[in-house]
């Protein structure tokens, strides 16, 4: 019958355990030769014609008619049937548990998805690795330890939210698509920092118990929004500033390119998190306390992370330009600490979370060595 040769065709199905009765429809079709075509009259909204904009046909261009209506509650069928399609009876539920729009939504999710797709880059192609030159030993060791830290922590922003992604109602597919790009970004970050550590005569340094504790708490967050507060608002916001520092401290153009490109990716993630929390807090103000509790703990772990040499010293050495300028590096790090705290609180403001009275991050880096009288030792 066909021209495609299939190996051992006669044996196919000879030991099958399941027997399937041919459908009534197929029997009728083969007998009469007349197609049914009833589905042609069953289109959700026929006649829609999305028009591409100046940057092509983007998601925002197809938000038209009923297709552009994002429901406050995701479809009760809990299946992957596309939003806007005709929904037949009997769809098996995939058991989505995040079915309220406010639990996942951000108004910029579609925009950030398109931007992420357009601004992807390749660590192999776009980083000028051939320009990497040997660095003084202290700078290379510091850069390798920093890259070890970043290799260790970056992929949490793929692993953690994608656990929730599979729980999100498919009607909020824009959010899922954005989170998929975030996972891809984090894969690239893990990839590029690992490559950098191994590319210039150094190698990986020491992993961190405190970093792992921080990752575990993100992993164990009790809700997606709680995780978003912890991950996007504080964690990724902090790493975003580190990437900016990385661009600043880069001893060569290779490192500068790496950090700058990662910075661009990370700011999309922070943008999603801020907007999601804004939407969630507006719809459900009571969630604020849950997010505050997450941030109470996350800020504490961040401070503890900044209490060990592997975290403090590489950045100070890179900022100062070597061990010999360690004090200068610490001064610069202190200036940047203020920026980290400032931008974090600004993002909290933007999300609609009044964090200032409850924040335990000191605005002065030197205060990290001053324990308050009622400090809790954890």
């Amino acid at each position: 019958m066909g021209t495609v040769h299939i190996k051992d065709e006669a044996r196919i199905g000879s030991e099958a355990k399941v027997k399937l009765q041919p459908s009534t429809y197929l029997q009728k079709l083969y007998q009469s030769g007349t197609p049914d075509l009833g589905w042609m009259d069953n289109m959700a909204e026929w006649g829609v014609r999305a028009k591409p904009g100046n940057l092509g046909l983007r998601l925002k261009d197809i938000q038209i008619g009923t297709y552009g209506q994002i429901p406050d509650q995701g479809g009760e069928h809990r299946s992957m049937a596309p939003r806007g399609a005709v929904i037949p009876e009997g769809l098996p539920s995939l058991g989505f548990t995040l079915n309220e729009k406010a639990e996942v939504w951000a108004d910029n999710a579609a925009e950030l998805y398109e931007e992420a797709v357009a601004r992807q880059w390749s660590s192999a192609r776009d980083i000028p690795w051939s320009e990497l030159k040997p660095l003084p030993d202290d700078l290379e060791r510091a850069m390798c330890q920093l890259c070890t830290f970043l290799t260790e922590v970056e992929f949490i922003a793929a692993d953690a939210p994608t656990r929730w992604m599979s729980q999100m109602n498919q009607d909020f597919f824009e959010v899922k698509m954005f989170l998929a790009t975030q996972a891809m970004d984090e894969a690239r970050h893990m990839d590029v920092f690992r490559k950098r550590a191994l590319a210039n005569g150094g190698g990986l340094g020491t992993a961190s118990v405190l970093s792992e504790l921080s990752l575990k708490r993100i992993f164990d967050a009790p809700s997606f929004s709680a995780q978003t507060g912890r991950l996007h608002l504080l964690g990724e916001g902090f790493v975003l500033t580190m990437f900016r520092q990385g661009e600043f401290i880069a001893p060569c153009r290779v490192d500068q390119e790496i950090f700058r490109r990662c910075m661009q990716d990370e700011s999309r993630h922070v943008g999603y998190g801020t907007m999601h929390l804004r939407a969630q807090l507006k719809a459900n103000p009571g969630v604020a306390e849950e997010i505050h509790e997450q941030l109470d703990d996350a800020e504490r772990i961040l401070l503890e992370t900044f209490s060990i040499p592997e975290s403090v010293e590489p950045m100070a050495i890179l900022m100062g330009g070597g061990v010999k300028n360690f004090d200068k590096g610490m001064d610069l790090q202190g200036q940047l600490w203020r920026r980290i705290v400032h931008e974090y609180l600004q993002r909290c403001d933007s999300a609609g979370l009044d964090r200032r009275p409850r924040c335990i991050l000191p605005t002065d880096f030197s205060k990290l060595v001053e324990a308050p009288p009622d400090a809790v030792v954890s």
Partner: protein, 147 residues
Amino acid sequence: MPSFPEPAWFLALGRLMEAEGALFQRLGFAETRFAVRVVPDEGSDGGETLVGLVIDGYRLTDAKLLDRLETFDPDFVICARRSVWDRMLSEIAETGRPSLRHTLSSLALMGEEMWLESTDQLREDKFYRYNQTLQELLNLASHMPAR
């Protein structure tokens, strides 16, 4: 020839941006309206200059002098003294890009020589989201007289 920071100078950069289409398409599109504030050096005459700029995709579509920021509603404003801008443009003219610690991002990070202004951190973050595009746009000044 227009000179920095006249709007015509930025529009000339915009034409170079379109000519370098492949570079900017590889970086990905950017959508932002922002402003450049040139603050006079201490002791020099004259007031500050404020230029509003719009990047739409892969094109610089608008550049104009601003009297007031509010009417333009920028995502962020990049501010620096005239001498800092001149130093950056001079380095770009010499090597095609600013030196490592004189990039837009590095200078804005330290916040002393260059600083950002914005009404909302989310909008300010566009400076970081599109940073490579912004820097490459300025780097095109290597093909133009700086002043």
